[in-house]
């Protein structure tokens, strides 16, 4: 029981080399699936434990806090762990058939190994209580993500992966520089210890300039990683050309983990008063967030590759998360955190529907959707429901986070921001409608035939996610309570 935090990461981390050892595609898939399900069980147990008895600390190598590396699970990261493991546990069952079609047989064990390493990297970033350890796991997750994207069928996957590699490496280097400056200022890497030692630095005195610089590098680094407009340029290509499974997994997890890192450094290390009142992070983030919501949604309307359309929509949705953070209120922060969860559900479902279409049709251009409403009724129905959640229609999960976001903007009387949130939703209606119209109201092409509904292996995980979108739109208590609790803990400024 008391080793649970470390096994959260160890299951995928050591499951990965096992995947490679078995050397058979299906067998590696089994190992990976078991590891991801175990991970989900552990994250549920951790969440239960944290909500009942408070934060859990685990000293790796049994070295006490500032000298060794410590795992620290509190309200926020228990929640993010749950998001990541849930997506992983649904993506892997989905992966078997999709990967068999898209990845060559000899590369399949490598694919599952890299996927597990990516999962371990993301979990390691979230769970750790040590700033440098966070960076090391960031390297793990990024490196495996580049390779996974490069494994896409089309040759442009390689350029997309390379583009992401360059941008991602710059982001990671900036984060490393930021951590290095904080270390030279305090002599420690432990997050709680960093916070208490930074709090001791008087505002005007020695080290202040270094602190501002560290903050600047960290913010730019995280913004690159979370694809904040206009640093999102790597994202559309990466999501478009990656194998379907990789797009599902990364779109639902990777950017959320980057948002988590931003929250952790801003609130738990530098302190919300310093970051928001002196360095005005709220104002810095506000404009890019609003621009993301409007411009990325507009660009999405004009895309013909629907995967790329959804990728631009992701950039817009990330804008909602950072907008929530930039409002710097309890409701705003809570809306941002809640949207991490809800966006994982809706984008996971939408990209899974894309994978199902691509499984049967071969590509996901707008013209490929003609008549699919009749040919693949279950897949397209799932797409419609996921789309409704993306627009923020009541009774879906997407509505809840938009609702709290609007509430937060109205609390401080920002009518114009409220208007932009609503315009963003209307733009989402337009781009989702284009697909729906083509699928349901355009006749089938005469030559195309022989396509049928996607196999159950793809449909079941897809519909579980769609179900979650509906369930959490009606019974909102679990995610809302978790997000509200995490937001209060963050605003108290400590890792409570």
């Amino acid at each position: 029981m008391n080793h649970l935090p470390v096994f959260q990461v160890l299951l995928p981390l050591l499951g990965a080399p096992l995947c490679l050892l078995v050397r058979r595609g299906t067998l590696s898939w089994l190992v990976a699936t078991l590891a991801s399900w175990g991970g989900l069980a552990i994250s549920l147990a951790l969440l239960h434990h944290v909500s009942h008895t408070g934060p859990i600390t685990y000293n790796l190598g049994n070295w006490p806090a500032p000298w060794g590396i410590t795992y620290h699970v509190d309200a926020l990261n228990a929640f993010v762990l749950l998001i990541v493991t849930t997506v992983a546990a649904l993506t892997l069952p989905y992966a078997l058939q999709s990967v068999n079609l898209e990845i060559s047989e000899e590369n399949r064990p490598l694919f599952y190994t890299l996927l597990l390493i990516c999962l371990a990297g993301l979990l390691g970033i979230v769970i750790t209580g040590d700033a440098f350890n966070m960076y090391v796991f960031l390297e793990l997750s990024s490196l495996s993500a580049y390779a996974l994207i490069g494994l896409g069928k089309r040759r442009r996957a390689l350029t997309a992966a390379f583009q992401y590699l360059v941008m991602g490496t710059i982001g990671a280097t900036f984060i490393l520089i930021g951590i290095g400056l904080l270390y030279s200022l305090t002599g420690t890497l432990n997050i709680q210890d960093l916070a208490s030692r930074i709090a001791l630095i008087p505002a005007s005195a020695y080290g202040h300039r270094t602190l501002i610089t560290a903050f600047a590098f960290l913010t730019v680094g995280f913004s690159l990683k979370l694809a904040l407009f206009p640093l999102h340029l790597w994202l559309p290509n990466a999501y478009t050309y990656a194998p379907s499974v990789v797009t599902v997994f990364l779109a639902a997890t990777a950017t959320k983990v980057a948002v988590y890192m931003l929250l952790r450094f801003s609130f738990s290390i530098l302190g919300s008063r310093f970051v928001f009142e002196q360095l005005t992070l709220g104002k810095i983030m506000l404009l890019p967030s609003l621009a993301a919501i409007i411009i990325a949604s507009l660009v999405a309307i004009f895309q013909y590759d629907i995967k790329r359309m959804l990728a631009y929509s992701s950039v817009a949705q990330i804008g909602y998360m950072t907008l929530g953070i930039s409002l710097h209120s309890h409701t705003g922060l809570m809306a941002g955190i809640l949207h991490m969860f809800n966006h994982a559900l809706m984008k996971g479902a939408l990209f899974m529907a894309m994978g199902a279409v691509s499984y049967r049709v071969g590509s996901v251009y707008l013209t490929d959707f003609r008549g699919l409403g009749r040919r693949m009724p279950l897949t397209m129905a799932a797409f419609v429901l996921g789309g409704l959640s993306l627009m923020g229609v009541p009774l879906t999960a997407g509505f809840i986070s938009k609702w709290f976001l609007v509430k937060a903007a109205l609390e401080i009387g920002w009518w114009s921001v409220t208007a932009i949130i609503l315009i963003g939703s209307l733009l989402a209606v337009i781009y989702i409608w284009r697909v729906v119209e083509t699928a349901y109201f355009n006749p089938l092409h005469e030559i195309e035939h022989g396509q049928e509904e996607a196999p159950l292996g793809l449909l079941i995980p897809l519909w579980v996610l769609v179900g979650a979108n509906l369930y959490f739109g009606i019974d909102t208590s679990i995610p809302v309570d978790m997000a509200s609790w995490a937001a209060s803990a963050l605003l108290e400024g400590t890792m409570q």
């Binding site: 981390l13 050591l14 000298w67 390779a147």
Partner: protein, 325 residues
Amino acid sequence: MELFIDITLLTFLCITAMAITVIRKLFCAVMLASIFSLLCACLFVTMDAVDVAFTEAAVGSGISTVLMLAALNLTHSREKRPPHQPLVALLVVGVTGIVLMYGTMDLPVFGDAAAPIHHHVAPRYIEQSPLEVGPPNFVTSILASYRGYDTLAETIVIFTAGLSVIALLGIRDRYAGRPIPSDRSAMKDYVVLRIVAKMLMPFVFLFALYVQFHGDYGAGGGFQAGVIFASGVIIHSLTLGRDRTLKAFPHQFLRGLATVGVLIYGGTGLASILRGGNFLDYSVLAATQLKGQHLGIFLVELGVGLTVFSIMILMYYAFSYRREP
């Protein structure tokens, strides 16, 4: 005197960096990058960071140069002229540089004894590590024990890098099960090179073993040893023909070895849990704390060495035996 050395090295470093950005011949750029790493290694030595210097010299100017040359073999050796002057990039780099300078102005002077980094966690590492971990080289104690979990993750980073290269490039089993034809890449005609390389190889391997097992006392450890051992094998491949190397170290075997290395490291951690400690708490592995730490560090360094060695050669293979697209 030290100041003079530092200034000279840094000047050369700047010149090399600028030359790399300007030059269009990629072969020259690779060689300059190798020199850049060597200069960095020298700078690390003047900072008394010999372990880091060792790694930089072995990885930066050794293996990565070979890998880049192997990559050049697959592409062109001349960079295309970019269609426009990247002025925006220059601006971004310039601003970043200015911000960095601004940020470091307030930092304590290099070597300042009053700096915070010398007074918080460092004293325990320096004073207590011989008593609670053991190795006289406390860099090894930090790397393998205090922050051993980071090192496990770094080992897996290298593992991931190797797998990524294999997944994207692929390794051909060109001669699987067939007799090896005469290889044109072997330096048959260069008798002196071949003889000298053959004579050097045993010493390279011996030195790698020394670095592997002497890391507790001096600079070195699994990372450096793995790289040095791999460079020995690469010399073998360059002079005696890559197909003979492939026969001696088949790539499936190396893949297994890399995996075993990671599993040895992780398994050591799991063994600590089984014996009632936390993950990677080596103290519980043997009767006394120091013996346990010694055993644990030995095992994890072995794991690191195996993984780094196999991954370096696998990357080299991936570039030289690229699967036909």
